[in-house]
Structures are given as structure tokens and as C-alpha cells.
Amino acid sequence: MPPIRVEVDGATYEDDVEPRLLLVHYLRDRLGKVGTPVGCDTGNCGACTVLMDGLSVKSCSVLAVQADGHDVTTVEGLGAGGAEHPMQRAFHEEHALQCGYCTPGMIMASIDLLRENADPSEAEIRDGLEGNLCRCTGYQNIVRAVRRAAGEMRRPAEERATAEEREATP
């Protein structure tokens, strides 16, 4: 079995894996990172989206051996020191989920979208998320959440920190 070395959510893992093992199964079954679900068998639904070297990929369509030497971020690796990532907070505040099955993939794809376009229009968000299916929300609130997170993430860090402090003071 080929050895692999991957960085996942900031930690380095070395393992021997079967070549046919999918990245998503490696993450879930070997590393216990069950935050990334599997939705389909064909690369269509986007539920399993993670970032590989910062770019979104469908982890059901990547072999674990292909991730060797790369840096993977799952939804579990977002946010620092227990704080939510602005995208997670926006999904929460805009009620951008119902059953939540699509949410981890939707959040990762949305972060990828903002990497390329810091201020996307509604149409650009819909286009950028075309590879992520949601059977519950009707997408309206997802689009709203991404707009909100984009606004949030464009604000300079100090301003954001002061606002958070203000919100935290009773």
C-alpha cells in the first residue's frame, strides 16, 4: 500500500492507504473527520467539497493517494480557536440550512468562491455554487448568507474585532 503524507486542518498525517481509497473515506473513516458527508456516487452533489491547497474539490472524486503532499481543509478546520468562520456565522444567521446535509460542502464552496471574487453578485453566487445541490432551502438564504459573509470578510480585521467585542458586551 502506498504511503501518503497529508496536512489536514493543520495537522500532518502519515498513513499507508489502498490506491482505491477515496479522499472522503480517508477523512471520515481513518481520520474521524465526519464533518464532510458523502451525498452521491458520481461527483454531482458537492456535499463532500473540501479545499485542496485552497481550491475546492469534491473529495469523493479524489483518491487519497492523489492528496499525498497536499494541504486539505475540511469544514472542521474552519475558524480559529473555537470561533466560527464568518461564512459559518453567516449561514447560521441567515438560516441558510434546514437538514444541513449540503452545508459543509456549501460552506467550503462558498469560501472558494470568495477567494476569487470578494464581492459577488447574486447571479455570480448562484453560478459559483452550481456544483452544490441543496434539496431543502431553495437556495435563497444560502445566497443571502454568502452575500453577508462577503461583506463581513471585506471589512478590515480591526473593525470586525471591535464589532465583535461590542456584540459580546451585554
Binding site: 490506491p19 456516487d41 458537492g46 467539497t49 481550491l55 474539490v57 469523493c60 472524486s61 492523489q66 472558494d112
Partner: protein, 285 residues
């Protein structure tokens, strides 16, 4: 489903890759972006004994200027092609069609060469390569050969590549001044495959169409050049009427499939309408 077992090799150079393919025999497959192959493995529609992963061979990702052509490395990802300045300047048809392929995550991994080698008649890029008279460069331990796009797509999901051959690059002649192009894809939902697609490039001179190249996606077991359309429109003055009459020839010589997305009759209708639209858009230079 979990795929059947296979051996895995990851060569570091083209030479190593072609030796690995020669050693592995008939039942080895090249693994490029894996966006088509991985689902096939999982559905157990493909059972290769070995995968030769060419994902770490950097030279295969290069896109470079070769004077009157742009040479696109087989492993250039859709994401990379879409943003490439040479492609955008000289071959906007490729960029435009690539933007319609799948979704951002698939485009981050899927490759230009993989889309052609896969030879799916519903794929958008085979018709584009055909319309642009691309030349595909293949390497094996036996040497290198060049395959014109017109000879590359042999049948449904079957290319002219031998099992031991690696597609290394695609050379696409630049479209010079006076050329306009358009890819018209018709699909029902975002991120879906084309029900029918039309790739079209025309050269306009003094109000007339001097050259036309039209190829169709998903109008048969392989992409087809709409020669009758080309013959009809070449030499004619640009007009709505001329484009409509040209479009009427679009389905000639095609064998459109019938499936749950549409009957052969519906596809025939679409080919005509979309060809007219694509010609009109391409000629608006």
C-alpha cells in the same frame, strides 16, 4: 460503491509515464484529473488493473505560444485554461466552452486533455477541438505521433489513442484577425451536460463569411463537423436569412441519440436552431 482494486503508479516524467504504460499492458489507464474516471471506477463501469497517475508531471500542464498555434499541455486543468491569457487572446472559443464544463470544483481537477481522451460525445471540448482543427500529440515508448482532431474521435467514448499512449499536448491553431467564435450549449440545469452544443468559428471579410467551422456536441457517437453548414455559408453575405438557411443544414449526416433528455427529433431541431444562433453570435465581430 467502492471500486475494484488496482495497482497505482505515479511517474515523475513523461518518459517514466510511457514506460509505466508499456509495462502495465492493455488494462492500464491514465489517471488525469479523475473527474470522469473516478466515478466510473466507483460505479464499476471500469476495471483497470493499474492506474498511471500523471498528476505530478509539471511539463504536462504548460500552456505556451508556438507562433501560429497555442500548445496546451494535456494536464492543464479547466480552471487553468479558463484563466490563461494566451487562450483568452487567441482561442476565446476554448475559454468560453470550458466555462460551461461542470462546476468550479470539477474544473479545479478536470483537465483539457482528459476531456478529449475521454471522448464523450456529450463533452463540450471535443467539438471545440474539432471545430478549431486541433492536433493532438501522443507519446509512447514507440515514439511521438500527431493526430488531427478529425481522426481522434473514433466512436462513443473511444479515441484513437492506443492503450500504451499518453496524450501529452494539444496544438490549436490561433484564430487570427477577422475571426469570431461562439459555443452555444443547450442544457436543462446548471452543471449539466449538453443536450446539444454548437462550436462555431467564422471569418468575416467585407460583410461576408469567408471561412466557417462548425462542430456539434452530442449529435452522434462522436463530435461531428457540420460540413453542409460550412459549405452553405462560406462566401455568403452576413444576414439573418443566410444564417437561418445555413442552420437548416446542421443535422445533415448526424446520428443524434435519443435518451431521457431528448429524442433524436428534438436534437435535430435543437441543432438547427442553435447553429443559427451560434453563427449569428460568432459573426457579430
Amino acid at each position: 460503491m467502492i471500486s475494484a482494486t488496482f495497482a497505482y503508479v505515479r511517474p515523475g516524467s513523461v518518459d517514466e509515464a510511457v514506460s509505466a504504460l508499456a509495462d502495465a499492458g492493455e488494462d492500464a489507464k491514465v489517471l488525469a484529473g479523475g473527474q470522469s474516471l473516478t466515478p466510473l471506477l466507483r460505479l464499476r463501469l471500469a476495471y483497470p488493473d493499474a492506474l498511471v497517475d500523471v498528476g505530478r508531471i509539471d511539463e504536462l500542464r504548460e500552456i505556451r505560444d508556438e507562433g501560429d498555434a497555442v500548445r496546451i499541455g494535456a494536464m492543464a486543468t479547466h480552471h487553468q485554461v479558463l484563466r490563461d491569457p494566451l487562450v483568452n487572446e487567441h482561442l476565446p472559443l476554448i475559454a468560453q466552452a470550458t466555462a460551461t464544463v461542470a462546476d468550479p470544483a470539477v474544473r479545479h481537477r478536470g483537465t483539457f486533455g482528459g476531456s478529449l481522451a475521454h471522448a464523450d460525445p456529450a463533452g463540450d471540448l471535443p467539438a471545440v477541438a474539432l471545430a478549431l482543427d486541433a492536433v493532438l500529440v501522443a507519446r509512447s515508448v514507440r515514439g511521438e505521433r500527431e493526430i488531427p482532431a478529425a481522426d481522434f474521435f473514433v466512436d462513443w467514448m473511444t479515441s484513437a489513442l492506443e492503450p500504451d499512449e499518453l496524450l501529452t499536448a494539444i496544438r490549436v491553431p490561433k484564430l487570427g484577425p477577422g475571426w469570431g467564435s461562439h459555443y452555444w450549449k443547450f442544457h436543462r440545469t446548471a452543471q449539466a451536460w449538453a443536450i446539444v452544443g454548437v462550436a462555431c468559428a467564422v471569418r468575416r471579410e467585407r460583410g461576408a463569411i469567408e471561412d466557417a467551422r462548425v462542430a456539434l456536441t452530442n449529435m452522434g457517437p462522436r463530435p461531428v463537423r457540420a460540413r453542409a453548414v460550412e459549405r452553405f455559408i462560406e462566401g455568403r453575405s452576413v444576414s439573418e436569412d443566410a444564417f437561418r438557411s445555413a442552420g437548416a443544414h446542421a443535422a445533415e449526416g448526424t446520428e443524434p441519440p435519443g435518451d431521457l433528455h431528448g429524442s433524436p427529433e428534438y436534437r435535430t431541431h435543437l441543432a438547427k436552431v442553435l447553429t443559427t444562433r451560434a453563427l449569428t453570435a460568432a459573426a457579430a465581430v
